[in-house]
Amino acid sequence: MARLKFLCDSDRCIECNACVTACKNEHEVPWGINRRRVVTLNDGKPGERSISMACMHCTDAPCAAVCPVSCFYGTADALVLHDKDLCIGCGYCFYACPFGAPQYPKVGNFGGRGKMDKCTYCAGGPQQDNTPVEYMQYGSNRIAEGKLPLCAEMCSTKALLAGDGDIIAGIYKERVQQRGFGSGAWGWRTAYKQELSV
């Protein structure tokens, strides 16, 4: 069975932010939330790197481990999704996530954040596929339509890869063989652990 992953080829990313814009537009993400962001390291200096970041859908997801209401669940193809009807907006997942993926729509005077929002891998949520209520809560469900996340499909330099982890790793390997090893598959060692330790 396919294990869905993201891979950002930072040797190709040109920090155009098209992935960020595509995501916000596709899912009508609330104002103030970015499910995906482009992070630039050593900005303006020789050798700067840009990485497109969102939820990595980790194998041993720390957000799910700390959630007090167990609103996270994993699918058979290893996506980490959450149920907004259960979320209480406590913010624990935000502190636990090594990638800063969880976002909150509100900043209230008494600490109210609203229900957590994050990348769904364009796979919706626990509402039935492609229903108006699913779109309202989680955005569009491209995976149910037989497509891949729009951020990756939109990427003009093909820096952002999404899909079956084995296939995109093969694509990346071909690139490395042609051009030499660059910065590596950023984040993979953190997100996709082969062995779990407790």
């Binding site: 729509p105 209520v133 891949l148």
Partner: protein, 70 residues
Amino acid sequence: MRDGSDGMAQARRRFLGGLGLAAVAAPAAAFEADGSTGGLPPRKETEAEKRAPRYRETDHVRVFYRTNRY
């Protein structure tokens, strides 16, 4: 003169009434963008449907893989 002051009073009432409505409507609009169902009836998947594999390797996906090899 009296008609004119009545008209002003009514305009002021409409303005203040509008302010009150905005004070109620603004938090309601914020709640809509808060992750709720927005008034739509929920249509939850079963536990098995939630965890079922969602990915399918369609022609669309195969084209994505092919073009990323360039």
